[in-house]
Amino acid sequence: MDQGHSKHEHHTPGYGIYIIIWLVLIGLTSITVTVAGIDFGMIALAIALFIAAIKSALVINIFMHIKFEEAIFKVFLLVSGMTLVVIFLLTFFDVYNR
């Protein structure tokens, strides 16, 4: 396990995939900005965060490559992400009810 690996074990996306993802990200950004201009009230925040989440998923999976890493990386990310979510939830049990 401590010999050098000179070959990448995992798949490397080519230039094309990255450019496509970039185009999608730009597209999602323009959707976000447009939607913000229309007054949806409370739902506006939910929509904005939802789109941000999609953008994040694309960046994390493709640009940051986690889709192609060993499964344990995804477990780590899930654990960390869930902890943050739980912290938000529990804090709001207080803030929402004060």
């Binding site: 396990m1 401590d2 344990i72 654990v79 960390s80 902890t83 739980v86 912290i87 529990l90 804090t91 049990f93 207080d94 803030v95 929402y96 009810n97 004060r98």
Partner: protein, 547 residues
């Protein structure tokens, strides 16, 4: 391995270094996890003594009502510094940085941690943090007087050196994060062939769970500290109520780290207990998987209970009962461990050496601490006990009677391996007994004082509390003497002690398969692990290997 080959390679890591320097420089530039563990041992022990000194002086002030040897402002600084030093410079780094660094790689059959240079960096960051704490005592403005919890709004109003002191804590947080990051990667990437997760010793499970908390929780205190500094320096209006800030939000952010932090303190200790009991009961641990999973469970559930520190702060009723309920749940995995440890001893062949005696003391003291945790975790009783001496007694029982005791247990267990010297067993036995007596004299009265109404962090008190305060202060003097005895025994043994054998206690985990002290590269050949971690049938085979 023929005897001739072993004889050639019998230099210890003290004599061989990872760099080309000699003397002090070879230590200050080392990347050897064992040397880094010892560097931490020296620094952390020094600050433990400083923190204990503050404690003893505090108890001296409290021997009688009224001023004894210091005014109230000084007293406020003393209890703040006692807390800051003990928590950030001793207990949080203590077991991971000393024993984790030294023994995690050994126990998994590795030659070092995953990132040895980051490991050295983490020590230098620790030293930097320590220097910043000391500096905050000396600069104009004066030593911090907010309590180690730095609550808003006082922490934003007081003129003492808050920003410098909390920045020190921020720096120390980095050290903790680097240690945690190193250990998680090491456990995943560097286990010896054959050592799957369920063949790892329980100390490694404890350290692994701890490392995750170090990674995930520490940044939250990091950002909280930065926000308080910005509030003090620029008045950004993030916590200060006069600008629209919410002091309760500060408490949330503070405790979101500081509660999981107590599990950083106790999980390695519980791991060490799971090492010592099998060795001195000469049988395998009862319920290995239960103990392993309980470490993960404690780490996870520990994130869900933080607001039990805030029951009287003004949070909503809904939050209060939810957090009280979750607090009861986190006690369960700890209970699982205590039952399994006791079950391990049943029908074991007990060898009451000092490490085992320390662990027995731990079980009593930690159980008292844990059970009284339920008392303060229960919403109704906490209303009366919050901010009283009852809480002070509770956390000293779990932190000092718990982790502190195991700091000594771990030292007395692994010292012969680390330094190749044996200490005086009789003096060690006396130390354990004296410690138990001193500890209870010092802290048990505080439970009573607390429910009688004595508030914590108070410089003065009503005359009816005098007798119990006196007993506690006398306890602190005996404790001081005991601590001197504990350290003196070890230091003396370093200079004049008998040479320790490879396996003085009859342990079977991998560190006992190599010489005392270990060689630089830990193992001449990386072992292939094909047995359970506490398989005592190995002892016969090991006796033939030893050198």
């Amino acid at each position: 391995m023929a005897n001739g080959v072993i004889a050639e390679k019998n230099k210890s890591f003290f004599e061989e270094s990872t760099n080309r320097h000699s003397g002090i420089l070879s230590w200050l530039l080392t990347t050897d996890h064992k040397r880094i563990g010892i560097l931490y041992l020296i620094a952390i022990s020094a600050f433990f003594i400083v923190g204990a000194t503050f404690g003893i002086l505090m108890r001296l002030e409290l021997i009688a009502p009224g001023e004894t040897l210091m005014g109230p402002q000084t007293y406020n600084s003393f209890f703040t510094l006692h807390g800051v030093i003990m928590i950030f410079l001793f207990i949080v780094p203590g077991l991971p940085a000393i024993f984790g660094n030294f023994f995690l790689p050994l126990q998994i059959g590795a030659r070092d941690v995953a990132f040895p240079r980051l490991n050295l960096l983490s020590w230098y960051i620790y030293i930097l943090g320590a220097i910043l704490v000391v500096t905050s005592l000396l600069l104009p403005g004066g030593p911090v007087d907010t309590g180690w919890t730095f609550y808003i709004p006082y922490s934003v109003r007081t003129g003492t050196n808050v920003s410098l002191a909390i920045f020190a804590a921020f720096v120390l947080g980095f050290s903790s994060i680097l240690t945690g990051l190193n250990f998680v990667t090491t456990v995943h990437r560097m286990r010896a062939p054959g050592m799957d997760f369920f063949r790892m010793p329980l100390f490694v499970w404890g350290m692994y769970s701890t490392a995750w908390i170090q990674i995930i929780a520490t940044p939250v205190i990091g950002i909280t500290i930065l926000l308080v500094m910005m509030e003090r320096l620029f008045g950004i209006g993030i916590f200060d109520p006069s600008l629209g800030g919410d002091p309760i939000l500060y408490q949330h952010l503070f405790w979101i780290y500081s509660h999981p932090a107590v599990y950083i303190m106790i999980l390695p200790a519980m791991g060490i207990v799971s090492e010592i009991i099998p060795t001195f009961a000469r049988r395998t641990i009862f319920g290995y998987k239960a103990i392993a999973f309980s470490s993960l469970a404690i780490a996870f559930v520990g994130y869900l209970v933080w607001a039990h520190h805030m029951f009287t702060s003004g949070i909503s009723d809904t939050a209060r009962w939810i957090f009280s309920f979750l607090t009861f749940i986190v006690a369960l995995p700890s209970g699982v461990k205590v039952f399994n440890w006791v079950a391990t001893m049943y029908k074991g062949s007990i060898d009451p050496k000092p490490p085992f005696l320390w662990v027995m003391s731990f079980i009593v003291l930690f159980s008292i601490g844990g059970l009284t945790g339920l008392v303060v975790g229960s919403l109704a009783t906490d209303i009366h006990l919050h901010d009283t001496y009852f809480v002070v007694a509770h956390f000293h029982y779990v932190m000092f009677g718990g982790t502190g005791t195991i700091f000594f247990a771990g030292l007395y267990y692994w010292y012969p391996k680390m330094f190749g010297k044996m200490y005086n067993i009789k003096v060690a036995n006396i130390s354990v007994g004296l410690f138990f007596v001193a500890f209870n004299l010092l802290y048990f009265p505080k439970f009573i004082l607390g429910y009688q109404g004595m508030p914590r962090r108070y410089y003065d008190y009503l005359p009816e509390f005098t007798q119990l305060h006196l007993i506690s202060t006398i306890g602190s003097w005996i404790m001081g003497i005991t601590l001197i005895l504990i350290f003196a025994n070890l230091i003396y043994s370093l200079l004049k002690g008998a040479k320790a054998p490879q396996n003085p206690w009859g342990g079977v985990t991998l560190e006992w398969h190599i010489s005392s002290p270990p060689p630089l590269e830990n193992f001449h050949e990386i072992p292939y692990v094909d047995h359970e971690p506490y398989d005592f049938s190995l002892l016969e085979k090991m006796k033939n290997e030893s050198h």
